[in-house]
């Protein structure tokens, strides 16, 4: 039993590594908006910002190497483009921040965290 839970823990850990998802909602939220700042591959996580109605949302993506494996590159989604994203938003609704699982831009789909879909 202990060995099994340890194995489960080890399997579950990589997705929770680093900043973790503890501060995010369980529920998945969909947003459609326009790109304000395109994908940045710098830092511990790839990021982008989009504008939805009057709010600017900070989207936290996977660590850069993983975001790249999902097909993302800097400059691939231009500023002003319409995107649909799914993810887990911050528990604090005053913050427009979302850990992003999936991005759709036109016909292109980016599965940033396929194990969370």
């Amino acid at each position: 039993m202990l060995r099994m839970s340890l194995a489960l823990f080890l399997i579950a850990t990589p997705a929770f590594a680093h900043h973790g998802w503890g501060g995010q909602e369980e529920a998945v939220t969909s947003l459609t908006g326009t790109v304000v700042q395109g994908v940045s591959m710098a830092g511990p996580h790839a990021t982008m910002t989009i504008k939805v109605a009057n709010d600017v949302w900070d989207l936290t993506l996977a660590p850069p190497p993983r975001a790249e494996r999902a097909g993302l590159k800097e400059g691939l989604i231009p500023v002003g483009a319409t995107v649909m994203v799914r993810g887990n938003r911050n528990l604090d609704h005053a913050k427009h921040e979302m850990k992003t699982i999936y991005i759709k831009h036109g016909a292109a789909e980016y599965h940033v965290y396929p194990d969370r879909e």
Partner: protein, 163 residues
């Protein structure tokens, strides 16, 4: 210049621009150097400080002080040389992060403590003659402060990413 202004300036500095251009593995690699620096620094300091606090008394202090201080210095240089470029990558993310305001004062206090201990007559005499009880207590006090300040700096540093 206020801290938010400084962090904004840092992000737009040539170093920040350069750091963001280095590809998807660059942050992970520089983070690795930072962690290696911290492990060398703290690993060496723990041994010296515990010796000063009374552990492993059979090992002469003069035998331990040289390798531990050398490795701690190397670790500190690695941590600074990786830490500065790392913070320039997205400096503005740290605006309002309270752990930043714990980490850097803790490092300043730790360095002040190193300076005070190293210029104390007790430290300067430790390789030359037996230390008196009072001198040993003074160095033990400095070692306790050292552990407190470095542990605070490391803890706050780790928590920066979780704020």
């Amino acid at each position: 210049m206020s801290l938010p202004h400084f962090l904004t300036w840092l992000e737009h500095s040539p170093l920040g621009v350069f750091m963001r251009s280095l590809g998807v593995w660059s942050y992970g690699v520089i983070n690795l150097v930072h962690i290696l620096g911290i492990t060398l620094l703290f690993g060496a300091i723990v041994i010296l400080d515990l010796r000063l606090l009374g552990a492993w008394r059979q090992i002469p202090l003069a035998l331990l002080s040289r390798p531990t201080t050398t490795m701690a210095q190397i670790g500190f240089v690695l941590a600074v040389c990786s830490g500065i470029p790392m913070i320039t990558v997205k400096s503005t993310d740290y605006i309002g992060n309270p752990f930043l305001l714990i980490k850097f004062p803790a490092i300043a206090l730790a360095l002040l403590n190193v300076w005070l201990v190293h210029r104390s007559p007790a430290w300067q005499a430790h390789g030359v003659r037996e230390l008196t009880q009072g001198e040993q207590r003074l160095l033990a006090f400095g070692a306790g402060l050292s552990l407190l300040f470095w542990l605070t700096a490391i803890t706050a540093g780790r928590m920066i990413g979780y704020w």
